[in-house]
Symmetry: C2
């Protein structure tokens, strides 16, 4: 077991903007005007999809290297579809989040199509983000007092 703890902190700058800090990196999350924000940065679900795409990049290269396959180039696209009714508080049976998430990889490798598809299969099965989105994870949101926070 090789346990790793990961943590990020953010300060709310508006009802939609969160300024995030992690290991010395700073970035901004916001919503577009259509969702009530000032469009100062990508929105929360875009960052989640980006994290998924980034994880696939890492995993594809890791698995390819293990198998002695050279990746010449890789582009990754992540997309999903969301019904905003629950988010907006409307009475609905729809879930709050993405109904589905699809990642497409355009891979140029020194390998057959079959080998590339096998690499993708293994990469997905070992990808932390694919696991956390594809399977349930215990999640909690709790209030903390000022003194205990961060």
């Amino acid at each position: 077991m090789s346990t790793m703890k990961v943590a990020v902190s953010g300060t709310s700058r508006s009802a939609t903007r969160l300024d995030v800090s992690v290991r010395g990196f700073d970035f901004v999350i916001d919503e577009p005007p259509a969702l009530g924000g000032a469009d100062a940065g990508p929105n929360p679900v875009e960052y989640v999809l980006a994290g998924f795409a980034g994880c696939i990049n890492v995993m594809v290269h890791l698995v390819a290297r293990e198998r002695g396959t050279t990746i010449r180039s890789l582009s990754v696209r992540a997309e999903g579809e969301l019904d905003t009714d629950r988010l907006m508080g409307k009475s609905t049976d729809a879930r709050a989040g993405f109904a589905w998430i699809r990642v497409t990889a355009e891979v140029d490798a020194e390998a057959s199509v079959e080998e590339v598809e096998e690499i993708l299969r293994i990469a997905e099965s070992r990808c932390p983000v694919a696991d956390n989105l594809g399977a349930a994870t215990p999640v909690e949101l709790v209030r903390v007092e000022a003194a205990a926070a961060v």
Copy 2:
């Protein structure tokens, strides 16, 4: 039903770095040296946690406004614990992703502790990212030919 499609695209710049583009915003995902990267940006799972924190910011303010409660300030921290054994390809029963994810909110509001906790409860229940992490979502990774990509 108010369906919204969300998509992000990334180009691999190294075995760990993905340059991401979404609606005119550009940002970099990388891994720290300990995980084989050049530390050019936050890593994939940090972006996922940040997206969760950002979503909680939006939802807390949305729910508070619906209830006539003023939020004076809000800080959000998101953390999780990950066993890297599966990611690294070791034989293991451990899951690939976070075993748990915890978001803590430090809320200063013109409201009682009970009202703040009720706002958090509702915010979590309507938060897309809480749903996609807390419950299973159909996820797929597929290879596309160059012509069909992006």
